[in-house]
Symmetry: C2
Subunit: 202 residues, 2 copies
DNA sequence: ATAATAATCGGACTACGGTCCGTTTAGTCC
DNA sequence: GGACTAAACGGACCGTAGTCCGATTATTAT
């Protein structure tokens, strides 16, 4: 018998997850990916998901809280990868390059990210209350603010970061590309112009 | 008998509105204003509105198409006033002032507008499909684009206008003020900084 | 006035996100 | 193994936006 639990057991974290709960979470994530592959993220309803996964509707909501929460869970891997790239990865996205170059790279990567995971990202932030309190969104904004300060931005970096973040909103970007027919390259070029002008004061 | 109809009759416009339809539209608008005055725009549901106005639910939707359409109708007066102010009114908002000053004034007025009609504006653009194809929003964006060109903006004025428009999104502005506790003055100052930097290239 | 017609009306109906609560079951302690 | 407890389960239920279609009514021509 071991007195010391060998791995994530009862050490201060949430009291672990019951086995049936874990099993159902996997089932649900699998079913969600299937449905999205078949019909797209927009067509995924919580009822269909529950049916496909063979669980009750209540279970879906207990696991993910809301439709947006489910979408965030589905995105969490690529989201975490993105975060670690701009926080710890190689320049110009990661630390080591000048702030302006990092800002440009950040926008470019973010636009590419939205082009790839667009519908999911949109669905993930389409929550009724507060699309702006999603931890990921707050992190991006603080990151932009940090880079602005690093570049000597004197005029209210918080609000400048907010404006720049608004430019990268998935909903807007997807509309620009899918409805207006603009190319991602053009969006990226415009982002470069924008941040350059904002950083270099008038 | 008169061969020529004396007023808005059958002259090319929509074939006029039946009297009961007009009466019901007035009833509905009145009831909507009452409900909003009592409980706020967010608490206005189409069922309650129909009940208060004493009409069927179908009538509400035939008149306004959707909840967002109703909100747009409620806003149309102040919206039209705003539009004519920045298109034909006195400087610095209207023509006569330099483009940059007009841009600054536009943002300031828009922020004030959102502070006053915020919930309505948010509800009006919260339509499922395409919040960006609302005629009013497209007009603002083209106006900003026009002012940018006037100031000699060389770098993709259309997308720069899109970014600036994103900054003025009612949802974001309301969140900044009501949740984050920022003051409208601070938003206005930041807008001034932003457009100044964007217009004066690097 | 009457009939014909086309628009309007009303409310039952659907789809969806989200909640609630009585029932079941996994983990634990004896 | 058996009893106990807290968590998980499931699906009935709710509120809401939006649709549909048979019944109604304003309007116009005769």
């Amino acid at each position: 018998m071991s007195f010391i639990p060998l791995l994530p057991g009862s050490l201060s974290g949430p009291p672990a997850e019951r086995s049936d709960a874990a099993r159902n979470r996997e089932r649900l994530l699998g079913a969600a990916r299937e449905l999205i592959a078949e019909c797209g993220a927009d067509a995924l309803t919580m009822d269909r998901l529950a049916e496909r996964a063979g669980v009750g509707k209540g279970t879906v909501f207990r696991r993910f809280g809301s439709r947006a929460g489910l979408m965030m869970t589905l995105l969490s891997d690529s989201e975490a990868a993105f975060q670690s790239r701009f926080m710890f990865g190689p320049p110009p996205l990661g630390p080591g390059a000048p702030g302006l170059e990092r800002l440009v790279a950040f926008g470019a990567e973010r636009i590419a990210y939205v082009m790839e995971h667009g519908d999911l990202a949109r669905a993930a932030e389409a929550s009724a209350h507060s699309r702006y309190e999603v931890p990921a969104a707050m992190l991006w904004q603080r990151h932009i603010e940090h880079l602005l300060r690093e570049e000597g931005m004197d005029a209210d970096p918080l609000l400048m970061a907010m404006s720049l973040t608004a430019t990268l909103d998935p909903d807007r970007l997807l509309h620009a590309v899918r409805v207006q027919g603009l190319t991602p390259e053009r969006l990226t070029d415009s982002w470069r112009e924008l941040v350059t002008r904002v950083v270099r004061g008038p």
